[in-house]
Symmetry: C2
Subunit: 360 residues, 2 copies
Amino acid sequence: MSRAFNFNAGPAALPLEVLEIAQKELIDFNGTGMSIMEHSHRGKAYDAVHAEAVANIGKLLGVTDDYQVLFLQGGASLQFAQVPLNLLGEGQTADYVNTGAWASKAIKEAQKVGKVNILADTSKEIPTNMPDFDALAYTPGAAYVHVTSNETIAGTQIQKFPNTASPLVCDMSSDILSRAFDLKQFGLIYAGAQKNLGPSGVTLVVIRKDLLERAPTTLPTMLQYRTQAKENSLYNTPPTFGIYILMLVSRWLLAKGGAAGIEKINRAKADKLYAAFDNSGGYYRGSAVKHLRSIMNVTWRLPSEELEEKFIKEATALKMIGLKGHRSVGGCRASIYNAVGMDAIDALTSFMKDFQAKNG
Amino acid sequence: MSRAFNFNAGPAALPLEVLEIAQKELIDFNGTGMSIMEHSHRGKAYDAVHAEAVANIGKLLGVTDDYQVLFLQGGASLQFAQVPLNLLGEGQTADYVNTGAWASKAIKEAQKVGKVNILADTSKEIPTNMPDFDALAYTPGAAYVHVTSNETIAGTQIQKFPNTASPLVCDMSSDILSRAFDLKQFGLIYAGAQKNLGPSGVTLVVIRKDLLERAPTTLPTMLQYRTQAKENSLYNTPPTFGIYILMLVSRWLLAKGGAAGIEKINRAKADKLYAAFDNSGGYYRGSAVKHLRSIMNVTWRLPSEELEEKFIKEATALKMIGLKGHRSVGGCRASIYNAVGMDAIDALTSFMKDFQAKNG
């Protein structure tokens, strides 16, 4: 088998080692004569998987006793609503920063629930941009402040999280566990698993425990964070196979040296790819403002749309998959999540040179 | 490998043939050099899987143009809320029938949303029971009527669905596609996948299209059925691996002759197991009223709790897994979903005879 270079934005590349274990165990998990998919979510075999997933994510994110790890369903898209439904009380205001497509979606859902103050809007700027988070006029007494750590489509990433008086809530879907950060700065973080953590269908939420009790009990039981917090994410049947893969990925991440270890690798990958733009004499132009460049989603343009189309087509033929920019912005994008290796970066930068030589 | 006899209530047994295909393809799906988990939900490879899943479920359930198949997340537990949030307008009443633990949960969530009329309550009856659905006093002009086709814990099953003037909504989590039925009788059916359709983390909803537009647009976008209906369940990233397994299960079901074909097999399995009670001289006593016995979840008692414990322990040692009744009711339960073969029934009934001979 020849493995593709997978630059998909999500669902995305998974570590080959993880897939190999999953394949080996798929029909017979740990000699039980059953697939992990066939085990009861209340039985011993799955229980150990679930507990290890919670513990490993705790270790990787530096989760302390005042926080809780939850595995939910519905993706970040459901969190866009669940966050305000739980945290935005009547008469309160939530601060949001609009940095792009994903922040915009979060804002739209919050506006259905309560009062939203948009602190800054850089969502339409080109080159893609973010505001200076330390210079924003945060609302005194805001229910929370919502930011998007990494804009998958724009290719921008918050470089330094602000210290906010109100609980900081962050959509980390596209850069969770790609770099070290201090969880203490946050009230709640959430992330769809399908970029850095596992397959689609699992949503990671880490919530500071004092925030668990904010939701009105009139809210549907499944939408209250306290429901799954009380039951360790086992109030109802969780997506057991997805959590199993996430657990294997968490093991793989621990072996890489955790968040700090993988960050070093990720920065080296991103540096090499961005250098390929910067050394191309302007042939490849990064789409994001330089100091906000994402180490996860690298976005760029070629001299024309025709060349971009040709570039993507030829790269695809060389098994470099997923290089087309999001349909809303065009251009090229390489998502280089944790499981994308340096071999993929080397293949891509080498192709970039060849392509420029032939089409420059 | 010796495969266990899997009587789990859910997540539950999957067809071995399905697991074998999934294992073979896990790292390299159709020669793409990537796992199906790593494919974009907007790419060609997954697109074909998704389309086949929708088409096959359509064939199996007799879905016509006036209905739509949706793949959602959050399990039946989220549907308990999503149904009233979408269908129960202000000032309207929804009729519910309380037949046990699952119906009770559905009722609790509906009561948070609007006015609920409980048509009948058999949830506390022993032997476990259901009302005569044709004799209920349905509310004229009710927003909908909600029933639970199969009570997993009680081991009872609706034998004949009522013809209701208001749209009939049914939680079919534990008997979906185990028997033939006429979809035309229903406004909406829903089912967590983890019993008869695939792994946990996918929820099947089939909705009559005229009901799609009932929800207030102020509802969170992800909770409106119309959102996923418009986007063929691709508004956000769906649980792609779960839908892939569901697609493989749907192929397997079609090869078995569809709902009618699998029903014949299921009835033969259930008949054999119930006969083992009825021919035991009262040693094994079925927990459900005879004419409502479920062909999916078979529940029974032994002469004492001590014997039940011994029975379950010895059966487990013989690799018959999951025979303990739900903790809320005790006793024994064998969940004999579509993927549980006659070999499992034979092993169990043979063990029942031996056990009675030694402990009778």
